[in-house]
C-alpha cells in the first residue's frame, strides 16, 4: 500500500480537442496524485466528458499528452489505458443488462484477475460481499434498481485494482444514504493510495469529499484549488463566470382554500399503492423517498405509462390512464427521467423535438410554417437558455442538461397543460440551468398548473416545493407541509420511514 504522496498517477498536459467547429477543450492540464480525490466541476458542455474521454483513451486528443503512472502517451487506446491502471465508472454505465451480475463482473476484469469460468459465481459473490453490495450474483443486471446498477458500476471499475479511478457523476441515482455509502468507499480507496477523479454536479457533495478541485468553463481550465476554504458560491462563480444568486423561486402566498386540480384515490400498481393524493391548482408537490420505493411507477401510472387500478381525476374529470393518450388529452404531461429513451428522439433535431407534439399549431392546411416554428423554438431556446450551436443539431449531440431542457420545452408549448409530472427534472443538469428549470416550473405553477416533482435531492425538494410527501414501499408514509420544509426534515422522514420499515417484519 503506497502512502499518498506527490506522485501523479494521472496527468494530462496541454490537451486540446475540437469536434467540428466546437472547441471542446483548449490547452487543459490536469493531474491527480496517488491517494488524492480530485474533483472536476463545470457546467454541462464545459468539456468534462471530453477530458475523461481523453484520459481513458476513447477520445484521441488533437494536441497534448496523457500520462498514466509513469507512461507518457500521445495516443492512447482504451485497452492500454486499462492496462496502465486506469479504471472508469461511466455516468451511463457499462453493464450488459441481459447478462447476470456475476457475468458482468467477470467480463469487466482483465484476464489475469479472472477466476476459472466455473468459479465465476462464487468469485462474484465474494467480490460483492467485499464491497457490501447486496445483490444476487445470478440476477440479470436489468432486474436491479438504478441505484444498485450505479453502485455495481463503481464496483466493476474497482475490480481491476486501478491506480487511478475516474468517477463520472457516480451519484445521480442515489439518495442521501447511498451517497454516504459510496463516499465511504471512495475515501477507503483514496486511503489505499488510489487517485480518484470525481465528476459531479452536486456541489455540496464535491466540496464534502474532494481534496482539490479543477474548474472547467467552455473547455478552458479556470484553475485548480484546494477544497478546504472553497465555498459553493465561489465555485459557482468560477463555473459560470459570474456570481450567481442561488435563490429558489419565491413561493406565492397560499390562498385560503385552493381548488383541487389533480385528485388521486386508491391508485395501485405493481410496485406502489394504494395512494390517495390531492394536488391544488398552482401547487408544487414534491415526492421524496429512498430510491426504488415506487415513486417513479406512481408518476408513470398517472401518466398512463404504467398499468394501475384505482382512479385519478383531473379538474373533476376521470382520467383514462389506460394509455398515455388519455392523460395527455386531459393536459397531464409527464417529463420522464429517462430522457434519451422516453422523452426525446435523440437523432432528431432540437427543433423537431421541441415542436413534435404541437405540429398542428405550427402550420396551416397540413403544411408546416417553418418561420413560425423557428420563431417559437428560438424563443424557448432563449427562455430556457439551452446551449447549442444550431436548432437543427441532433438532440443527442447536446450535453445532458441541455437535453433535459429540450424535453422541458414541451409543457411550455402545449396549450392545455393542467398537470406536470416531473421525474428528476434536474438530474445531470448544471447549477445555472437547474435554477432556470426551477424558475420555469414555478412560472408554470403561477399560471395555475399543478406540478408534481419526484426528486432524489432533498435540497431541491425543500427549496422548490410547497408541500412534500414521502413514499416508502409504495405508500405515503409522511407529509411535510410548507412551513416545516427543510432538507433535514425530508432526510429524516426518508430515513425514519426506512427505519420503521426495517422494524416491520418483512
Amino acid at each position: 500500500m503506497s502512502i499518498p504522496g506527490p506522485a501523479p498517477v494521472l496527468s494530462l498536459r496541454s490537451v486540446s480537442k475540437a469536434f467540428g467547429v466546437v472547441q471542446a477543450l483548449r490547452d487543459v492540464s490536469f493531474d491527480c496524485h496517488a491517494g488524492e480525490i480530485h474533483a472536476l466541476v463545470g457546467e454541462n458542455g464545459s468539456g468534462k466528458s471530453t477530458l475523461l474521454g481523453i484520459a481513458s483513451g476513447f477520445v484521441p486528443p488533437d494536441e497534448g499528452t496523457v500520462e498514466i503512472g509513469d507512461e507518457l502517451r500521445r495516443r492512447l487506446a482504451p485497452a492500454e489505458a486499462r492496462k496502465l491502471g486506469l479504471g472508469i465508472a461511466y455516468q451511463t454505465y457499462s453493464h450488459i443488462q441481459d447478462l447476470s451480475v456475476a457475468e458482468n463482473l467477470y467480463l469487466a476484469v482483465p484476464r489475469s484477475l479472472q477466476p476459472a469460468y466455473g468459479q465465476m459465481e462464487e468469485w462474484a459473490a465474494e467480490k460483492l460481499a467485499e464491497f457490501k453490495l447486496d445483490v444476487p450474483p445470478a440476477a440479470p443486471v436489468g432486474s436491479l434498481s438504478l441505484a444498485q446498477r450505479q453502485f455495481l458500476e463503481v464496483v466493476k471499475s474497482l475490480l481491476a485494482e486501478p491506480k487511478v479511478l475516474l468517477l463520472d457523476e457516480p451519484t445521480t441515482a442515489f439518495g442521501p444514504e447511498d451517497v454516504e455509502r459510496l463516499h465511504a468507499l471512495v475515501l477507503q480507496q483514496s486511503r489505499a493510495g488510489v487517485g480518484i477523479v470525481y465528476v459531479s454536479h452536486r456541489l455540496p457533495e464535491v466540496l464534502g469529499i474532494a481534496h482539490r478541485l479543477t474548474v472547467l468553463r467552455d473547455g478552458v481550465s479556470q484553475g485548480t484549488f484546494e477544497a478546504a476554504g472553497m465555498s459553493e458560491e465561489r465555485l459557482i462563480a468560477l463555473m459560470i463566470g459570474r456570481p450567481l444568486q442561488l435563490a429558489f423561486p419565491e413561493r406565492h402566498a397560499a390562498e385560503g382554500d385552493r381548488e383541487v386540480l389533480l385528485s388521486v384515490s386508491g391508485l395501485q400498481g405493481d410496485r406502489f399503492g394504494p395512494i390517495d393524493l390531492d394536488v391544488a391548482k398552482g401547487e408544487i408537490l414534491g415526492i421524496a423517498g429512498a430510491e426504488g420505493n415506487g415513486q417513479v411507477e406512481f408518476l408513470r401510472a398517472l401518466a398512463g405509462a404504467e398499468r394501475a387500478t384505482g382512479s385519478a381525476a383531473c379538474d373533476g374529470r376521470e382520467l383514462d390512464t389506460g394509455s398515455p393518450l388519455g392523460p395527455l388529452r386531459a393536459g397531464v404531461v409527464l417529463l420522464s427521467g429517462d430522457r434519451t429513451r422516453e422523452a426525446l428522439f435523440p437523432v432528431l433535431s432540437v427543433r423537431v423535438n421541441t415542436t413534435i407534439q404541437v405540429l398542428r399549431r405550427m402550420g396551416r392546411f397540413g403544411f408546416l410554417n417553418r418561420r413560425r416554428e423557428r420563431g417559437t423554438v428560438d424563443e424557448l431556446v432563449r427562455r430556457l437558455s439551452i446551449r447549442l450551436a444550431s436548432v437543427e443539431q441532433p438532440v443527442q449531440s447536446l450535453s445532458g442538461g441541455n437535453q433535459q431542457k429540450v424535453s422541458l420545452t414541451r409543457p411550455f408549448l402545449r396549450g392545455n397543460v393542467n398537470v406536470i409530472l416531473a421525474e428528476e427534472p434536474t438530474q445531470g443538469v448544471d447549477v445555472a440551468a437547474r435554477f432556470d428549470i426551477y424558475d420555469a416550473l414555478r412560472a408554470k405553477a403561477k399560471e395555475g398548473v399543478a406540478i408534481v416533482v419526484k426528486s432524489s435531492d432533498p435540497l431541491e425538494l425543500a427549496g422548490l416545493c410547497d408541500r412534500v410527501v414521502v413514499i416508502s414501499r409504495g405508500t405515503i408514509v409522511d407529509e411535510i407541509p410548507g412551513e416545516e420544509l427543510g432538507e433535514r426534515r425530508i432526510v429524516e422522514a426518508i430515513v425514519g420511514s426506512r427505519a420503521a420499515a426495517a422494524r416491520r417484519p418483512a
Partner: protein, 350 residues
C-alpha cells in the same frame, strides 16, 4: 413484486427463452416424423432417412454460420450466393478427372473463397460502417454475378469420388451429420460456458458497454462474419454433392438460414441464439420439405406451412412476456369495466 421475486422472474425468463426453442423444435421433429412414418411406409426406410440427413447438411452448416452473424446482431444474406459460387468453382477444380492430389488444393480454394468473402463483408461492416444487411446484399449481387459469369448454365460434373467421400455413412447416418451435431454442441458449450463465448454474446447484446469494459468488439464482429462465410463455403461442398453439377442457380438458403437461426432461438437484435437450436431447426425445415413431398403435396403448401410454423414458433418464444402482457391487459380491462358500470351516469370516462 419484491426485489427477490423480480430477480427470480428475470432469471426464469432467460432460462425459458433459452430452452423453449430446443424443446419445441425437437417436439415438432418427432411429431412430424412420427406422423409421416405412420402414414407413409417410404419415410422410415434407411434410404429415405439417409437422404433426409444429407439434404439437411447444406442448410445445417449455413445455419450454424448464420447464427454467428445473428449473435453479433447482424445478418449475412450473401451466404446463398457464396454457396452457389462454391458449387460453380467446384465444377472446375473438383471434376471427375481431377486427381486425388489436386483435389486438396481445389477444396482449399473453396474454403479460401469463404474466408475472403467473410473478410470482405467484415470490412464493409466495420470499416465502412455499412449495415450488415445492405453490405451483404451488395456482396450477394457480386458473387451471383461471378457465378453466372463462370457458368452461364448448369454444366460441368463434380468428382463423384468427392461426393461419395462427403456422403460416407454409418448405417443410415452420414458421418458428416454426426460431425455437424458435434460441432453445434461444442459451439453451444463454447457460447454459454466460456469467456470468449460470453464476450461474443455481450457484443451482440450491447456493443457500447462491451467496448467500455474492454472487449475488442471489432475483432469479435470480424470473426463472426468470417466464421459465417467459411461455414457457408463448407455448406457449398454439400450443396455441390447434392446438385452434382456446376449450377449457377441461387437457392434461397439465405432466408432459410436466418429462419433456422431464429427458430433455433436466435434474436434478431443479437446476443441470443443456439447453434444446436439452429441445427434442429434446419433439420425440421428439411423434414417438412421431405414429408410433404412423400404426401405428394405441391411445394406451395410446403412454403405456406413453413411460414405459418415460423410465425407460431416466434410467438411461443415470447412466452412469459406475452402472457404477462395479456394477463395484466385483461385484468385491468375487467376492472375498468366494473368501475365503468359503477359510475354510470357520471362524467364519461375516456
Amino acid at each position: 413484486m419484491t426485489f427477490g421475486a423480480r430477480v427470480a422472474a428475470a432469471i426464469a425468463g432467460i432460462r425459458f427463452r433459452g430452452i423453449v426453442p430446443l424443446v419445441l423444435m425437437a417436439t415438432l421433429i418427432l411429431a412430424v416424423g412420427a406422423f409421416t412414418a405412420f402414414r407413409q411406409d417410404a419415410f422410415l426406410t434407411s434410404y429415405n432417412l439417409r437422404n433426409l440427413l444429407l439434404l439437411t447438411m447444406p442448410l445445417a452448416l449455413v445455419s450454424l454460420g448464420q447464427t454467428c452473424a445473428l449473435l453479433v446482431g447482424g445478418f449475412d444474406v450473401s451466404v446463398a450466393a457464396l454457396m452457389t459460387l462454391c458449387v460453380v468453382v467446384a465444377s472446375y477444380t473438383m471434376t471427375p478427372t481431377t486427381s486425388t492430389l489436386e483435389l486438396i488444393p481445389g477444396a482449399l480454394l473453396l474454403v479460401g473463397i469463404g474466408l475472403a468473402v467473410g473478410l470482405f463483408n467484415a470490412l464493409l461492416i466495420r470499416v465502412f460502417r455499412l449495415p450488415s444487411i445492405i453490405a451483404t446484399l451488395g456482396t450477394l449481387s457480386i458473387l451471383q454475378g461471378i457465378a453466372i459469369w463462370l457458368r452461364s448454365y448448369p454444366t460441368g460434373s463434380i468428382s463423384s469420388d468427392t461426393i461419395s467421400a462427403l456422403d460416407t455413412s454409418w448405417s443410415f447416418v452420414p458421418l458428416a451429420f454426426i460431425g455437424v451435431v458435434v460441432l453445434a454442441l461444442l459451439g453451444d458449450l463454447w457460447l454459454y460456458r466460456s469467456r470468449s463465448g460470453m464476450a461474443l454474446r455481450a457484443v451482440g447484446l450491447d456493443e457500447t458497454s462491451s467496448r467500455r469494459i474492454g472487449i475488442r468488439t471489432t475483432h469479435v464482429v470480424v470473426l463472426a462474419f468470417v466464421a459465417c462465410s467459411v461455414l457457408a463455403s463448407i455448406a457449398g461442398f454439400y450443396l455441390a454433392a447434392e446438385v452434382q453439377i456446376g449450377s449457377p442457380i441461387i437457392g434461397n438458403q439465405a432466408l432459410e438460414s436466418i429462419a433456422a437461426g431464429v427458430l433455433g432461438g436466435a434474436s434478431l437484435a443479437g446476443g441470443r441464439g443456439s447453434f444446436f437450436g439452429a441445427l434442429l431447426a434446419a433439420l425440421f425445415l428439411t423434414l417438412i420439405d421431405n414429408s410433404l413431398a412423400l404426401f405428394h403435396q405441391p411445394t406451395e403448401y410446403t412454403e405456406m406451412t413453413i411460414g405459418v410454423l415460423i410465425l407460431v414458433a416466434l410467438i411461443v418464444y415470447q412466452g412469459p412476456e406475452l402472457l404477462a402482457r395479456l394477463r395484466t391487459g385483461a385484468f385491468v380491462g375487467r376492472l375498468r369495466a366494473r368501475q365503468g358500470e359503477a359510475q354510470q351516469g357520471e362524467a364519461p370516462a375516456g
